[in-house]
């Protein structure tokens, strides 16, 4: 007889303190996120020390709420899954140490989850994954194309060589004097433009699936600077649209090409930038034309949350992986396969 698996997930890698309970890796029972965005806004970005301070204030509250909403007691849990890395070191170790203490108190197994694996597995909370699969993980911290032959197998086939896409969005937003976080504002402005600025597309060398966004970001800054020197005013919507067009075209094209080459049965997008309307529309259109099933989870599962960590942790649990009390936050954690 197969017993249901209930996993408590904990995520504190950046500026969200989150806890969630997921059943059998596919069903969200509770999903609590305490966001710190308001607190970091005045600094124009996430301040690591302040993020850590908030995490320690919120951590037991969010775990308690996750258990209460799920109407479960710790004894009913199968394991605790926590984001082990990558992320901000001081932020990660709040989640890791809370997870260890909770697991120790209730004598539960503990699992250290790679944050990107979490983003990918967020999709499984919506529909079952089909392999081979291609995942585009695109967020404030990441821009990666990952090929998966089966559950727990990860092959990073492309990644950013400099800024993450979301980072570039935030920096461009700052030069346009848009509030933090800038991504959604650029996305919104871009749709108001009828005359986008023509910024370069950065393809890098032929055949690579890697990305680079710092050159594009510099082009935008130069454009703004030159206009200012000539005393010309720029239309922010045209800059936003020009920047977004460049990002969307490169990301869509590389994702399509990878899906073709690896002959995948499913493509999923994940991460905060995957919620971007311009990118989403472009990916949906192109993959529909190709006839490859393409999915993006709803916004609440695209941005950082703990349900995705619990979902990924469930697969690790099923594969017999176990962590121990010596687990530590790993800010530069590599993405290793579980198989």
């Amino acid at each position: 007889m197969n017993e249901d698996i209930y996993i408590l997930g904990i995520e504190t890698s950046c500026d969200e303190t989150a806890a969630s309970i997921v059943k059998n890796g596919t069903e969200i029972i509770s999903n609590i996120v305490a966001s710190q965005i308001e607190s970091h806004k005045r600094f124009g970005g996430v301040v690591p020390e302040i993020a850590s301070r908030h995490h320690v204030e919120q951590i037991t509250l969010v775990i308690e709420e996750a258990l209460e909403k799920a109407d479960l007691i710790p004894a009913q849990l199968s394991a605790v899954a926590v984001t082990e890395g990558p992320g901000l070191v001081g932020a990660l170790l709040i989640g890791v140490n809370a997870a260890k203490a909770f697991a120790f108190a209730h004598q539960l197994p503990i699992l250290g989850v790679h944050h990107i694996a979490g983003h990918i597995y967020a999709n499984r909370l919506e529909q079952e994954m089909e392999f081979p699969l291609l995942a585009l993980v695109i967020s404030g911290g990441h821009t990666e194309l990952i090929y998966m032959k089966e559950h727990g197998h990860f092959e990073v086939i492309g990644e950013t060589r400099d800024d993450a896409a979301g980072e570039a969005y935030d920096k461009v937003a700052r030069t346009l004097n848009l509030p933090y976080p800038g991504g959604p504002h650029i996305d919104r402005l871009a749709h108001e433009s009828s005359n986008p600025v023509d910024f370069p597309r950065v393809w890098l060398e032929e055949g690579t699936y890697d990305f680079s966004f710092s050159g594009l970001k510099s082009s935008v800054l130069n454009y703004m600077h030159n206009a200012a020197q000539r005393g010309e005013s720029v239309a922010p919507e045209d800059v936003a649209a020009g920047f977004q067009n460049s990002v969307v075209e490169v990301v869509t094209s590389k994702t399509l090409r990878a899906a073709d080459q690896y002959n995948v049965r499913q493509v999923i997008a994940a991460g905060g930038v995957a919620a971007n309307k311009g990118l989403r529309a472009s990916l949906e259109k192109e993959f529909a034309a190709k006839g490859i099933p393409f999915f993006i989870p709803p916004l609440s599962l695209c941005t950082d949350n703990a349900a995705m960590i619990a979902a990924a942790g469930t697969v690790m649990f099923e594969k017999g992986i176990r962590g121990n009390m010596a687990m530590n936050g790993r800010p530069g954690m590599e993405m290793d396969s579980w198989v």
């Binding site: 320690v56 951590i59 909770f102 108190a105 209730h106 121990n324 009390m325």
Partner: protein, 230 residues
């Protein structure tokens, strides 16, 4: 009653278990190893040795700061989560007071300190007899704090692993009023923490936060800029 005490507020690690009035085990190390990695394995191992299960714990005592931001947070996160998970009281205690307890019965004032770089420290002053605070825990220029201490005209015992970093200025300002704890009395001891916790109130677990005694640099700069503009 079984107390678990955890002090990770500076680079040393000290943990202990006490059953009623008896300390049953205490482990203190000064290895400058990452607490995030070592604190939980050390607690697990110590409890296994003492044959105490998590469910048998009745109180958690923790050094609340001030001290290393990260260190204090690790201890407090573990302590909060254990206390909340096990539904038992949490007793946060000043990490400087824990150090001061090393010098209890000293005839004068005890000054615990932890270096905070650039001539500053987390520092406080406690009465040697009863460990009542004489000057509140704070983050200060060491020299300024010492000038204040000197005015009290009493002998002062300096405790903590960082006292030598400020040894020169201490001798210069305090002259013959300065006394230094011997090396074996410079490390924090979780047994002292537990004894202090037994005399202190419990705190609501969810609202227990580190006592940093210092705002973040980002906030300080923000305030400066706002003040400048306003």
């Amino acid at each position: 009653m079984i107390y678990l005490g955890i002090d990770t507020s500076n680079s040393p690690l000290s943990i202990a278990l006490a059953k009623d009035d008896t300390i049953i085990i205490e482990e203190t190390s000064n290895l400058k190893i990452n607490h995030s990695l070592t604190a939980m394995p050390a607690i697990e191992e110590m409890m296994r040795k003492a044959k105490v299960t998590p469910a048998q714990l009745t109180h958690i005592a923790v050094a609340q700061g001030p001290g290393s931001y990260t260190g204090v947070r690790i201890g407090l996160t573990i302590a909060k989560t254990l206390a909340w998970s096990l539904k038992i009281p949490l007793h946060p205690v000043s990490s400087l007071k824990v150090l001061a307890a090393n010098g209890q019965y000293f005839d004068g004032i005890i000054c615990p300190l932890m270096d905070a770089r650039r001539g500053t420290a987390f520092i406080g002053a406690y009465n040697g007899k009863d460990l009542e605070p004489v000057i509140a825990d704070q983050h200060s220029e060491v020299k300024e704090f010492l000038t204040q201490l000197k005015e009290l005209g009493q002998p002062v015992l300096f405790v903590g692993i960082d006292v030598e970093i400020h040894g020169e200025v201490i001798r210069e300002v305090m002259e013959d009023l300065a006394f230094f704890a011997d090396p074996q009395h410079r490390l924090p001891r979780a047994s002292n923490l537990i004894m202090l916790a037994q005399q202190s109130d419990e705190q609501d677990v969810h609202h227990a936060v580190p006592d940093y005694r210092r705002i973040t640099e980002a906030e300080a700069n923000y305030i400066k800029v706002q003040g400048g503009e306003g």
